[in-house]
């Protein structure tokens, strides 16, 4: 599955649409806030007893999230042995140098700025599919 961590329902819906348009059949699961995403990676809260919760093939992560930031989510993912090597692609609207640096320092594999135009979004999603889901080899995959 692909894990989309995104609080904007508009952006989540548009990304879901772009994935469908691009013909990607891998199921897309959306988490709408930072705290839930941290709990997912830590295996706490509602994910505490899900010992067999699936490890995502790819994580798409917004940085500006309610309750816990995208950086916190990244650190939680990297702190857990099961998800340490999961590819995490930051998908955000900030193009600030400081944010990009922080994201890589927290363990991001890639940093993408959400494009405004739908055509650009479609192109980006196709590239994600090709690179991360087809060509890229990951640990334990």
């Amino acid at each position: 599955m692909i894990l989309l961590i995104e609080d904007s329902t508009d952006d989540a819906e548009l990304t879901r649409y772009a994935f469908a348009k691009a013909g990607i059949t891998v199921p897309l699961v959306t988490l709408g806030d930072g705290a839930t995403a941290v709990a997912f990676f830590e295996g706490t809260g509602i994910y505490a007893d899900q010992a067999t919760r699936p490890c995502p093939a790819l994580v798409l992560l917004d940085l500006k999230l309610p309750r816990r930031s995208g950086y916190d989510v990244l650190r939680a993912a990297r702190a857990n042995a099961a998800t340490r090597h999961v590819p995490v692609v930051v998908l955000t609207s900030s193009s600030r140098e400081a944010d990009i640096r922080r994201a890589y320092e927290a363990g991001a594999n890639s940093y993408l700025v959400k494009p405004l135009e739908r055509e650009a979004l479609l192109g980006m999603v196709r590239s994600l599919d090709g690179f991360w889901l087809r060509f890229n080899r990951n640990v334990g995959a």
């Binding site: 952006d11 609207s93 959400k114 739908r118």
Partner: protein
């Protein structure tokens, strides 16, 4: 007057010689310790004794520190203090301000003496007060110590009094100098602290603005993606249901979102130009103009038949990124506001004007009425409808902000139908060089003076 039993007294010629030597040092030296020590050495030489010292009155008004001296064992100078009490000759001298002589301290009944004097075999002491300057108490006492009992003659005390006054003048001069330096240093420290405080306040304010701008751009763009994205979906997947009018409106939503996006981008660069701290340096604007010309043509809606000529320009005192942005905006306008009926020629050239340099961007486009010259530099002011000439109305405001940030100005000369000539006026040399700079009347064209 002198009593031969107590040895020789000071000879007038010797005294004058010593006074002259000391006066020379007292006027020349800026080192208080040197002056005080030399004062002791010379006075000893004049009076034929190997022991002399200067005791300095401390801030408490009664402690005297042995500040300088000659002939003393280690541990005395700079360390020993004497109390200027009623029962010491020092206290008495300070009180009366008169020379106080003890010809034989073994016989002295009025005063007690510190033990280090008897340790050094001192038998006689002369105290002469070193007065303070205007509005100041005495600096201390010049003390001439003798290892033999000694009667100081009137000539001796007169010499000592004059000598001590000369010493007082030198001490006062140095203390005044020191106070001026300390005041200057305190003022400098206060100013530095104030500047540092202001700088950190400004830096903080700037950081807050930067965060604000970044958060605005983030938060304003998020709903735009929704508008644009969903309108596109309507266009792509729901065309039959929308019908012609519905499709048209969906397209209008997409176009409006695009305009909003441009506005946010321009506003951000406007605020960045206004806030960015720029370090100016001498640079050649010619390659920046070439780059800006290429960008303007690449971004133009109708670049067909547009010819931009960049002439070599003299160097300017500017910031490359800010100047590049300003040139880009001027050239984009020159290309955009062309006359669509005929080919368009745009020229970029430099004109030296004393210690200033004008970069001219001249086009043969539609031109601007002189009534509008001021308005066009104001943010969001537009002269044309969105249909005819799309734009955010911020471009020239950015040019003006950029000019101001670089210590320059900008302006325009134009008339309707006859093209527009915009200029950026910047320093032709760094400000410090401009003070002794060229004759402001000597005007020359960049083309001629180029390199």
């Amino acid at each position: 007057m002198s009593d031969p039993a107590f040895g020789s007294h000071v000879r007038p010629s010797k005294a004058q010689d010593i006074l002259a030597q000391f006066a020379e040092l007292a006027l020349r030296s800026e080192n208080l310790d040197e002056i005080l020590t030399e004062a002791c050495r010379l006075v000893g030489e004049a009076l034929g004794t190997d022991l002399a010292k200067v005791v300095e009155l401390q801030a408490d008004g009664h402690t005297l520190l042995v500040r300088a001296g000659v002939g003393w064992r280690p541990g005395i100078v700079g360390e020993v203090t004497i109390e200027a009490d009623e029962d010491t000759s020092e206290g008495h001298a300070l009180k009366t301000r008169r020379p106080m002589i003890s010809p034989d301290i073994g016989e002295e009944r009025r005063f007690s003496y510190p033990s280090f004097l008897t340790d050094h075999g001192v038998k006689a002491v002369a105290n002469v007060v070193i007065i303070g300057g205007r509005d100041r108490g005495p600096y201390g006492i010049l003390q001439i110590d003798s290892r033999t009992p000694r009667q100081f003659t009137e000539a001796d005390t007169a010499f000592l009094q004059g000598y001590a006054n000369l010493l007082a003048a030198a001490v006062d001069r140095l203390r005044a100098l020191d106070e001026v330096r300390q005041t200057a240093e305190r003022t400098r420290l206060v100013l530095e602290a104030r500047v540092a405080e202001r700088t950190s306040e400004l830096t903080r304010a700037n950081e807050l603005l930067e965060e604000f701008a970044s958060s605005i751009s983030h938060d304003l763009r998020a709903p735009l993606r929704g508008m644009e994205g969903f309108a596109r979906i309507l266009l792509d997947d729901f065309a039959p249901a929308l019908g012609t009018t519905g499709l048209h409106y969906a397209q209008r939503i997409v176009a409006a979102a695009k305009r909003m996006e441009n506005l946010i981008t321009d506003l951000l660069s406007y605020s960045r130009v206004q806030r960015t701290a720029v370090r100016l340096r001498m640079l050649d604007p010619t390659p920046l103009a070439h780059e800006a010309a290429e960008e303007a043509l690449a971004a133009a809606v109708d670049p067909e038949g547009v010819d931009i000529i960049v002439k070599p320009m003299p160097p300017v005192y500017a910031h490359p990124v800010v100047l590049g942005q300003a040139l880009n905006n001027l050239l984009s306008n020159a290309v955009k506001f062309r006359n669509p009926e005929r080919p368009s020629h745009v020229v970029v050239r430099g004109q030296r004007h004393g210690d200033r340099m004008r970069i001219w961007v001249e086009d043969d486009g539609i031109g601007i009425a002189s009534d509008d010259f001021e308005r066009i530099f104001v943010a969001f002011e537009r002269l044309h409808g969105e249909e005819a000439y799309p734009g955010t109305g911020i471009g020239l405001a950015i040019v003006q902000a950029a000019a101001l940030r670089m210590g320059g100005t900008c302006g325009v000369d134009s008339s309707v139908g006859h093209g527009a000539r915009f200029y950026l006026e910047l320093g032709a040399q760094p400000p410090e060089a401009a003070v002794s700079g060229a004759n402001p009347n000597d005007e020359q064209d960049g083309d001629d003076s180029a390199h």
